[in-house]
Symmetry: C3
Subunit: 289 residues, 3 copies
């Protein structure tokens, strides 16, 4: 008899995400082991429990999902999980704290429907946050020229440095976008713009967006009004606006959810999956074909 499918949900927040749990239930997980306020220290015993309870042939029926609102905390938990691994004795793990990996993958794949990423120029607004950094990684790996923008030039530089450490030969530049003129200058010549800012913060005016003749795709990942890219609706999904194809957060959300579910399904195929930004992007690419 097949062992029940178990997902160990590790969440650093005071309450474990209901969203993550419901998606997992809808993917056929039989038992959700949900943990809140998880730290790398308390994660260890939980991971050992997942690793050492079932025999080798059944390890693939147990997996770990790292969620929570804090991506840095999630990354620490992923590192702690990987340190527990003992050769082939391991269980698959997926990191999607704050939905950062699935959101970045869905945004980049949405852009790739319309523009060849290799060689494209992409402006990432609010690039210094977790979704922005992951989108920069994914775009750079695909050969895009990525402009990382922040209201603060030093933070934009630091974000470039962080991505460069991960991807050799990444073509990155840092841009300060504290004023509309600076934003217009950063956008000039870009084929794609992605806004990865906080909820309800406008990062680009309609005028600046429509005056950019090179712009082919505009993606706004903020679902809470006002829009990050003014004039783009949250429900936009390949909507033509001012000469560019536009996506809003909900428009990207359908693909994001498909990627999330496909990644969860992947966790239970073998016991050796480690799904972070690139692996989740590859799952999304396979879905898009």
């Amino acid at each position: 008899m097949a062992k029940p499918i178990i997902l160990l949900q590790l969440d650093a927040d005071p309450q474990p995400s209901a969203f993550d749990a419901i998606v997992a239930a809808d993917c056929g997980v039989d038992h959700l082991l949900r943990h809140h306020s998880v730290t790398p220290d308390t994660a260890r015993d939980l991971v050992h429990g997942a690793m050492f309870t079932r025999g080798p042939e059944d390890l693939r029926h147990t997996a770990i999902f790292i969620g929570g609102s804090d991506v840095a905390a999630g990354e620490s938990l992923l590192a702690a999980v990987r340190e527990c691994y003992f050769g082939p004795v391991r269980v698959s793990v997926m990191l999607d704290a704050n939905g950062a990996n699935t959101t970045a993958a869905a945004a980049v794949l949405s852009a790739a429907r319309h523009v060849e990423l290799d060689g494209a120029t992409v402006l990432l607004l609010a690039a210094t946050g977790p979704v922005g950094l992951r989108a920069a990684r994914l775009l750079a790996r695909q050969g895009a020229r990525v402009r990382l923008a922040s209201r603060n030039a030093h933070r934009a530089e630091a974000a470039c440095d962080a991505v460069r450490r991960q991807i050799e030969g990444a073509r990155l530049s840092a841009h300060q976008t504290a004023t509309e003129d600076e934003t217009a200058a950063a956008l000039d010549g870009a084929g794609i713009v992605i806004a990865a800012g906080a909820a309800g913060v406008q990062l680009l005016t309609v005028q600046t967006r429509e005056q950019c003749a090179s712009l082919q795709v505009a993606i706004d990942l903020n679902a809470v009004p006002p829009a990050g890219l003014a004039g783009v609706e949250a429900t936009d999904k390949a909507a033509a606006r001012g000469g560019a194809v536009c996506y809003g957060a909900i428009g990207v959300g359908g693909l994001k959810m498909k990627i999330h579910k496909a990644a969860l399904a992947r966790l239970f195929e073998t016991n050796d999956q480690v799904l972070d930004a690139e692996e989740i992007y590859a799952i999304g690419q396979a879905l898009s074909k």
Copy 2:
């Protein structure tokens, strides 16, 4: 394929209720998402997770149960849940902190088996607690004259004011029952008495109860000896004692449980149910027909 049935259990206590979880499991819930120490602030993300994960056609397979021992905390959580709703994007919710709604409904419906509530006179002993206040609401809506009694006259008056704010034209009076004489005076002419006091506190002697010629129904909601209504057994269910039909806590408990289960089932029929005192009473009324 039908989506799994998910109940989000929001509990303000340090441990989420096992009672509420077991009843839900017995009602066919597939996944219990149990949360303890929930505050209105931390509830918000959980409710959004329940609202925004599944498509509109599947929202009715997710619902929220608010429990815990503190009814006021439960009411705050219910308010927080309702504030999250976004037009038709919502999930059904039921409040039954401390079992207050199902207990009050079962007590009032038990009385209604024997006495027409419209025009009846009801003495509510220890009426200022959460079960008492809900029973007063339900009785007043049915047209009963409700005497709210407390050892403290000011608290009885405050309870009357609270119910009056909820029900226009409610026929209520406040009674101090600090002494046996005061209790006897409050009982005089009543057809129904309901004791909603704390565990193990006697509120009425056998003598006073039996001397009340008008009394037709006596209901004691305290299961822990000594009885709230002396001489009434916890297991009494329409037992004849001293001229009145008597119910104890366990005697009322069967109907309470049926109402609880029917209310849970109702949650999953549509995604727009908000089940508080009156809605849960109406479910109980339908069961009693």
Copy 3:
């Protein structure tokens, strides 16, 4: 329709054990109600919820598992659970905090495969910990002469006293094993040695072990290198080494897991099981026949 099988997992640790949950899921439990940071006080309401929700004929479909890393805390929880029982209104309960009961049972039963315990002489190294104390209890009940060893003579004496209070006529002696010479003296004439020490602490050298002509069985319950009994591999299962039959932690682990699962299954047969050291040992004995 049969009621779903529910296990209430009470854990005193900040995170409830994933190991215990996965074993329960693999035993066919439908719903795991997992609780962390449980104290005797907060246990009470949970136990009442388990006792008073379902009717008498369905009580056996609900049971309690007490786990966590702290055996003393687990024992306090077991006492609190038993205090909640109300005549026949109860649910079955199993204590296996830190795996102490199943580990001690598996170790003693492994030894019993090779040596008649009645009259055997057994050296228990690091006997003062929870696994050691339980192994001492089980061995003494089977008629063995048990030498309880500790680096500290006073702690060894205290452990003897604790076991004597539980088992009348137990044949116990306390041994200080702070030096290799003391350990060799304690081992002299023993047929069985069981090391129940902390992870990664060596308690016996190869030389001392191999020089003990009387030794027939050597069991090491420490899975983390270095071994508690030098030269014994964690995977040893009745491996012949230096004249004795040897077991390592993983070698004992298969039987331990079988006992754990059989004990869980027993919980759901009737509603009146209380499974602590002796009852779990008896379950293991039945398995070994």
